[in-house]
């Protein structure tokens, strides 16, 4: 990082927390609006997620009997912090200055923290529904984690580097990975949908079966923070998939003035994350919730199988590439 | 079972069990004694294939309590087996062993009319709330909601 001021701005203002907060609320609104319009409903106004966040923040915080208050307050904050730091390594207007060799693994690890926090919350709140919800959250984590990581690591395998920014650079020179590894792209999208516990995979908080799963006892600011975490991880997840498979914010041919390239890069970033969001929303609208044992069969048979096949193809292509 | 079942053929064979009357085109009503109800239903089930219990209705006609078992079968005929029980000690052998759904209706009739079904596996209170006075049976004619008792949260004022 050159000088501390631009570093601070990078971390806190522009592609950092403030932008992430606003963009997350916008994406949450867009997600609900697309789903509503697909069901021929009008849908919420653009500030609805922000209004929800403020309202829930103001609500009274109820501690269930016999619950360790401190941990119950701290857990959502841990999840929020994890997701926010994950966003710093994802390139927004060009390469992220904080990039280092292996930041892809860090981002993936930070993204899976909220699920563990959900399990902890479920177990902590001493309520039968949240306990079952917590167990389901962790079971689902084991099912989709392996294929999701494999799908996201195959671009790194082909690009030969473990840093998200360098993968984006590699794609700038050659093809985007969505054309090179289509199966990996599909598995990544399905894994992302499962990580965010959205419609086909929202088994942990299946409201018609176990009230709200781990979310049952969350009230007031805890609920607001956890909701925000899920919205943030939607942004981080779709930005990550956009960066790894759709070429991120860089354009193949260079343009003279540096600041213009930054703006175009940012616009590209927006367009690509919105494209990923459109796909995720339509998955959410088109499907119904599946049971945890069905997820087990589908998860291990098809999704894991597909990601292993993808890794195989990438190894073969690497082998040919090196000797071609 | 020679040929399709006709009301008079059914009436003929069931004459042994009690008074028969033809209520409507396809309906027969048999009035029998309480202890003969069980095997009346048995013969009707086995010989004439009445495999479905429509309902067990109970009524209080002032003098005595009446129970009517309505059964129907694939031939679309309805047989109603009626039985009369005296008011003081209304008791009946249960029919849950030959009609599983009967367990449901018997427990409800027991709550509302106080007819005891001997042999019903679990005569738990089902319909009225827990603090309902045990010996009061609301649907009997002589029961009136007396104003000062509390019926599950509502004062018993006259409707």
């Amino acid at each position: 990082m050159t000088d501390p001021v631009s570093g601070l701005i990078y971390v806190f203002i522009f592609p950092g927390f403030l932008f992430l907060f606003i963009y997350a609320l916008f994406l949450a609104f867009l997600d609900r609006k697309i789903a509503a319009r697909m069901q021929q409903r009008v849908g919420p106004p653009f500030f609805q997620p922000f209004a929800d966040f403020i309202k829930v923040l103001g609500k009274e915080v109820i501690d269930p009997a016999g619950v360790d208050r401190v941990v119950f307050d701290a857990a959502p904050l841990v999840a929020l912090a994890a997701v926010m730091t994950a966003f710093l390594y994802v390139p927004v207007t060009g390469n992220s200055p904080l990039a280092f060799q292996g930041d892809l693994v860090v981002v993936l690890y930070l993204l899976s923290l909220p699920t563990l926090v959900l399990f902890l919350l479920g177990w902590l709140s001493r309520n039968i529904f949240s306990a079952i919800g917590g167990i389901r959250a962790v079971t689902q984590l084991f099912i989709y984690e392996v294929p999701f990581f494999l799908a996201l690591l195959t671009p790194a395998l082909m690009a030969g580097t473990w840093s998200v920014s360098e993968i984006v650079l590699w794609q700038q020179k050659n093809l985007w990975f969505v054309f090179l590894q289509p199966i990996g792209f599909i598995v990544a999208l399905v894994g992302l949908q499962a990580k965010l516990e959205r419609r086909p995979f929202d088994i942990p908080e299946a409201e018609t079966e176990i009230v709200a799963g781990p979310w049952t006892e969350l009230t007031g600011r805890r609920l607001a923070v956890m909701d925000l975490t899920i919205d943030l991880s939607l942004v981080v997840g779709s930005a990550l998939v956009a960066a790894l498979f759709l070429g991120g914010p860089l354009i193949p041919w260079a343009i003279a003035p540096a600041w213009l390239e930054g703006i175009i890069g940012f616009l590209l970033f927006l367009i690509k994350t919105l494209a990923v969001l459109l796909i995720l929303s339509s998955i959410k609208v088109a499907t119904g919730r599946i049971r945890i044992d069905q997820l087990n069969d589908i998860g291990w048979k098809y999704i894991a199988g597909a990601s292993i096949v993808q890794v195989g193809i990438v190894l073969v292509m690497n082998y040919l590439w090196v000797y071609a | 079972m020679t040929g399709p079942l006709t009301p008079d053929r059914l009436a003929e064979t069931m004459k042994a069990y009690g008074v028969i009357e033809q209520v409507r085109k396809n309906r027969i009503r048999i009035t029998t004694a309480p202890d003969k109800v069980h095997d009346t239903i048995r013969t009707v089930q086995v010989m004439f294939g009445f495999d479905r219990l429509i309902t067990i209705s109970a009524a209080d006609n002032g003098r005595s309590l009446e129970l009517i078992y309505h059964l129907t079968g694939p031939h679309r005929m309805v047989v109603s087996i009626a039985v009369e029980l005296e008011r003081a000690q209304p008791a009946m052998p249960t029919t849950t062993d030959i009609l599983p759904p009967a367990g449901i209706y018997e427990r409800q009739i027991h709550d509302l009319f106080g007819i005891v079904f001997t042999g019903n596996p679990h005569m738990k209170r089902i319909m009225l709330n827990e603090d309902w006075p045990a010996d009061e049976y609301p649907l009997r004619k002589d029961w009136k909601p007396d104003p000062d008792t509390f019926y599950g949260g509502i004062k018993g004022e006259r409707s």
Binding site: I34, A36, R37, M38, Q39, Q40, R41, V42, G43, S282, V285, A286 | -
Partner: protein
Amino acid sequence: MSVLREMFENLLSRPITILYPKEKVPIPAAFRGRIAIADDKCIGCSKCSLVCPAQVITMVDGPRNVEFRGKNLARKKRPQVKLYKCIRCGLCERHCPAGAITLKHELSGSGTDREVVVT
């Protein structure tokens, strides 16, 4: 996945829900709304209070002479309806010989005093 095709058609078409305060839903002719009593036609026969299932119509004395089927009657009583207890079933309107009591198209509104009466 026939659902997909219809979903994307809906995405581009107008939503079907009506934003109530701005656009109003048309009220059909037979709608049973707020009760209204035409005092000039009422002959005080108290049929409506007998027929009312919720027993909210009480007859209060209201002497008046009324012209009914050519004859001139001096009626003694007229109906009074507890507005917020009325279930708007329309039986009074159906059984009133003089067509005095009808259900309008407006809603009966809401209020705290359950004994509010419409005469």
